[in-house]
Amino acid sequence: MVQAVAQVPDDAAQPLLQMRGIIKEFSGVRALDGVDLALSAGQVLSLCGENGSGKSTLMKVLSGIYPSGEYQGEIWLDGALYQVNNIKQAEQAGIAIIHQELALIKELTILENLFLGDEISQFGVLNHAAMYSRAEQMLARVGLTISPDTPLVELGVGQQQLVEIAKALAKNARILILDEPTSSLTESETDVLLAIVEQLKEQGVSCVYISHKLNEVLAISDVVCVIRDGLHIGTREAQGLTQDDIITMMVGRELTELFPYEEHDIGDTVLSVAHASAWHGSNRHIKLVDDVSFELRAGEILGVSGLVGAGRTELMQCLFGSYPSRYELELTLDGQPLVIKSPSDALTKGIAMVPEDRKRHGIVPVMSVGSNITLAGLASFGNWLGQLNEAKEHAAIDEAIARLRVKTASADLAIRSLSGGNQQKAILAKCLLLNPKILILDEPTRGIDVGAKYEIYKLMFELVKQGVAIIMVSSELPEVLGISDRVLVMHEGKLKGNLINDNLTQEQVMECALRSTTEKQ
């Protein structure tokens, strides 16, 4: 036991939090197999690991989602045994978790959200003034200077996250668990968040930080703890650690390169898009996509870069026929004019898309992995009666699962039980079953682990070698630059650059987007 403590590099004597030998099983499968973790006051610990490695499970143990007794091992907080049965008790003990999906109510104001369940009132009548001044103090602590009466919908995701942190701090949180907090933040929003974490640290608030973005991990943490397959692989001081070190610990093998670029031939133009425009759903004067024209060639990976809100997803929805409001564009496929009114049109013309929001638009959660894979291509398994040839279908499913290396115990398992990376692979399999000529990937690697990312890149190269044209929308510049042959840069709905990726740098792409902004001003 003493040794476990000594393992952790820390100058303070007694760690604030110690988790020892945590074991958690789900119907016989060990999700956590004796994990140790120690955290001192004012320390930031980053928890790294591939999806499905057990990070989230460990944090659910810590935050009381799995009550004490449902796991083995002990947790010590401030020298006392920490045993809680629910999130509320964990919060009272000073441990608060901020989830990827925000637990705020969009229809309410900031103030109403902050005091939800803890309203200040006399005889049931709300005391708005008291809550207002209290709310202002709470917001100040996370650097927000907006009125607490602002409706939450008017806030960006980054600000909403800060509101949630403020809420947690108000409950005297000493340990803050941030689960993938920056996955949907822009770069400037990320900077703000990291600065706040830095400030909190000085106030003695500790933080467990979960992220797939290793540059953030290295920038912010004091120690890095890596988990793989439920095992505690190691805890190291962040100083002197490199991204490659962490990746090696996470995947257990040396990844020679993050982006396995492979040479491939680029053919003729397959698709040209002219004058694409899309209008905002409720405000007809706002154009989310503004007169964008570009061409796509066979065997090409076309990266589409830009900040959140640049109109990239909307542009892809126009191409795929799934944009929900008014839009217009002229499409030419293989020299023939093309009209696409719905995703079903697009798919029959050989255009497939992996949507950005996996949970909402990608999977049918209650259906099996296999049924999800064949959903788009069902017609090819039916006879004239519409009767499915199950044997043929299962053979196709097994082949797809093997080809994309979807890790699942059975094709009959509900897809929601898979990790994000494997769900994403299944959605890709669904598209590939249609043998598309053009594949649109909207944020294909968001929130999935390094190993799965690597496999998806490999697959993309395999496809372009067969002559498939790929459009990849991504917010991660290194990925865009590491994979694409050409990069479209979008900003505020306009196409700002169409750059051949010949050793293109992040600075060049950022400048391309930003230069246009300054020009406008």
């Binding site: 719905s342 079903s344 049918v364 069902l378 044997a391």
Partner: protein, 380 residues
């Protein structure tokens, strides 16, 4: 090996087993309470006949609920369609086949009407069918002038009141068994041909033997009274046909997908509006079949026929494991749900339980069934 077999059986059929257990428990309870009258051939025959209408409504409803919609207009629609059938038969003296065709067509149309508003006009199905519930009943009262349309022709009586001769019963039974054997082994063959693993042969044979025993027992009992009631044959036929549609066809799969995640289905190229329209139209068709049986059994079209039948149908689906959130549910489960409801009705009537108590018990059973389902899912 044995263990894995048991666990697999459990996973797939837990809900079915629980329901079958419930039916057996109910049967035992009522047989004791009625001193054996409950399990006489006559009463079993009656019980199954009682199940027919709710069962057929539940079959249509299960598609609607699986697609994450609801249809509250079923009761009124059944009343209206039954009224139309009676009017054609009694007032206009149409021949039976024509009456049947017209009623089915009307059912398809009314269902499609509901579906069109839901799918293409984006009005929530709760509202569309609530409107239908009122409007259809209104039309029925208007058409009949508020009076009962009776008596229906002798031919009309065939649908709801006749029985199959015991020879015909056995013939159909044997046909079903042959079909079951044929499809089972063909499916096995196909799987093996594609190099997939199939269930071990003994397990398949045991399954078939159980099905055969059940069918033979049922036929024996029913033939002991008057034979297989025609409505029960219709229910069984529709159950098999629509279970096939739900499980073995592209359309069925798409209905589950639409209910499981509408947007993902749309983005997978499914024409979700068309599918929803088809689901409501199919439900309308089932209502028409139930309406024909109802009018035939009553021997009349009544302005109040079918009142709150939609609630029985929804309850049957829910007891049968259908999730109101969509994407989950089976045809077989819905029919078993209808059988449970009918068993309670039948048993309590035999015991002369006052009507008010019957309502209370049925309500409690519905609540209990869903609670058990929710609780067992929360544990997993």
């Amino acid at each position: 090996m044995m263990q894995s077999m048991i666990s697999r059986l459990k996973a797939i059929n837990l809900q079915t087993l629980v329901m079958a257990g419930a039916i057996v428990a109910i049967a035992i309870f009522f047989s004791i309470a009625t001193e054996g009258d409950y399990l006489t051939a006559r009463n079993v025959s009656n019980l199954l006949r009682q199940t027919a209408i709710t069962g057929i409504l539940a079959i249509g409803m299960v598609f609607v609920i699986v697609s994450a919609e609801i249809d509250l207009s079923v009761g009124s629609m059944m009343g209206l369609l039954g009224g139309v059938a009676a009017i054609l038969d009694v007032w206009y003296g149409w021949p039976l086949p024509l009456t049947i065709l017209a009623t089915l067509a009307a059912g398809l149309l009314l269902g499609a009407w509901n579906g069109w508003w839901v799918a293409y006009r984006k009005v929530p199905s709760f509202i569309v069918t609530l409107a239908g519930m009122l409007a259809f009943r209104g039309i029925l009262i208007g058409l009949t002038g508020g009076t009962t349309v009776a008596p229906t022709s002798e031919a009309m009586g065939i649908i709801g009141q006749s029985y199959l001769s015991s020879t015909l019963g056995w013939l159909i039974g044997c046909g079903c068994l042959l079909l079951l054997f044929g499809t089972t082994f063909r499916g096995r063959q196909q799987r093996l041909q594609h190099g997939l693993s199939a269930k071990p042969l003994p397990q398949t044979l045991i399954g078939l033997a159980v099905a055969m025993a059940a069918l033979v027992t049922l036929l024996y009992v029913l033939n002991d009274y008057r034979g297989v009631p025609t409505p029960v044959l219709i229910l069984a036929g529709l159950m098999v046909l629509l279970a096939f549609v739900a499980n073995k066809t592209a359309f069925g799969r798409r209905v589950y997908a639409v209910g499981g995640n509408l947007e993902a289905s749309r983005l997978s190229g499914l024409r979700v509006e068309r599918i929803k329209l088809a689901v409501f139209a199919l439900n309308g068709l089932m209502v028409a079949v139930a309406a024909l049986i109802l009018s035939s059994r009553l021997g009349a079209g009544s302005p109040s026929a079918g009142t709150i039948a939609e609630l029985d149908a929804i309850a049957a689906c829910v007891i049968g494991g259908t999730s109101l959130a969509g994407g989950v549910g089976t045809v077989f489960g819905a029919v078993l749900g209808a059988l449970i409801m009918a068993s309670l009705d039948n048993g309590m009537s035999m015991l002369d339980v006052p009507t008010y108590w019957q309502y209370i018990v049925k309500g409690s059973i519905l609540l209990l069934a869903v609670w058990m389902d929710v609780a067992s899912k929360a544990k997993r």
